[in-house]
Symmetry: C2
Subunit: 253 residues, 2 copies
């Protein structure tokens, strides 16, 4: 039973998200359907980040075990032959049994794209949040840096979220921009549901001048979702990549 | 009856093209519907370039006359409020009566995007032609330069095209690239139907090494569509901009 780790890119437009749902097309469902055809049995796929409906991925990671033996490059080709072109397998590697894309993930990296111009760019409508009125990128970046470190991020948790702990470690949180495109990049050891989008909603309030950068500190300290900005729309969010510890030397295949 | 020149961007995915058709959604049709609502009468819109189904525009130009008086910036806002977000009016200016977006156009500029990598990028699937196998960009550029100048471009005319003359003047024709994205940029005084896409199909044959750069000269000289490469798919093509002579000083409003 070889176990594989694959890296995927997908355009999340039109999907119900990563996770299989009762109705609608999910990335997990598409992968499991493709793998069932390939392996002639049901295959359970684990994804590193459960992206919501409309959220995109440049480097999602998934893991699964197959009954049949197949070379990684042949697996990539076989998957891409069976997947719609909104989803592409980029690479595959065989990993030790027991590897799990979600539980083993050490760092996840997300990017959020804001289109900050009077008029929407029609090519950005599914890949950015259109925010009118000039944003103060320096203030946003100053606020973004306050997110770095270990904090209780309960203020940025989707309502109804009930994780055991809402403490997470953010390694890097930065806003860059100039011109119409404002980018937010964040990496950390884990993220609560809607956390990145709620941070972006808060940063945009600061960029609009409704609050100073220090407001971010207050919002975090409040641990109360009602204190933060709105949840930014899904279409601006990209899962950029997921990092894992290198396997112990004797675990390398 | 003020006459307006407007500049538009649109994502051509899902449209039947610029021109109103018996069935399907066209950009011209959307504009005429929006203007009928605004002007409370039928308004005929002329477009500089009649882009085909799936072809995009970064700077299409259209012209029309209205019965009502409206400031150009208010016209842009009113159009964008009525258009779907795949189409955006970028700017408007009032022009002398008699201005016609197509007949007055001096230069049109097109870009064609080729995604040259083993695997499709899912975010490029509607905005580039996916060509597998490395392309020789230097050879493509050498061939592209042979397109510059005044030529009879009958070899690149859509079958069934029957323009009075197939002679056109190409001002600039260049291929650039590096990495997965290969760009072709062409500007000229006019283009036959499918001309840019047939040139691109011919350039890709050269880039693949099936012919040398000089083959372009032979194809042009043949004036025979069957000698050229295939018509590249619509989704890679963008109408970048349209240039006009400045109006005579006494014509300026």
């Amino acid at each position: 039973m070889p176990t594989f780790k694959i890296t995927l890119a997908y355009d999340g437009t039109g999907f119900v998200g990563w996770q299989r749902q009762a109705a609608g097309v999910s990335v997990q469902g598409l992968l499991e359907d493709a793998l069932r055809e390939l392996d002639e049995r049901d295959v359970a796929v684990a994804g590193a980040g459960r992206t919501d409906a409309g959220v995109h991925a440049l480097g999602q990671v998934a893991s699964f075990s197959l009954a049949r033996v197949i070379a990684p490059h042949a697996l990539v080709r076989a998957l891409n032959a069976r997947l719609p072109d909104q989803v592409r397998a980029l690479s595959a590697v065989e990993v030790p049994a027991g590897f799990h894309a979600r539980f083993g993930a050490r760092t996840k990296r997300y990017r959020y794209r804001v289109w900050n111009a009077e008029r929407l760019n029609p090519f950005e409508r599914q890949y950015a949040w259109h925010v009118m009125g000039g944003l103060d990128v320096d203030q946003m970046d100053a606020a973004a840096r306050l997110v770095e470190g270990r904090h209780d991020f309960a203020a940025f948790q989707a309502s109804g979220g009930a994780r055991r702990t809402t403490e997470r470690e953010v390694h890097s949180s930065r806003v860059t921009g100039g011109g119409a495109l404002v980018l937010y990049e964040i990496s950390g050891n884990g993220f609560l549901r809607h956390m990145v989008r709620a941070i972006v909603g808060t940063l945009v309030e600061i960029g609009r001048g409704r609050h100073g950068a220090d407001w971010m500190r207050e919002v975090i300290a409040s641990r109360d979702r009602s204190h933060a900005g709105p949840t930014a729309p899904a279409e601006g969010l990209f899962l950029v990549g997921v990092d894992y510890d290198a396997p112990a030397p004797d675990a390398v295949l």
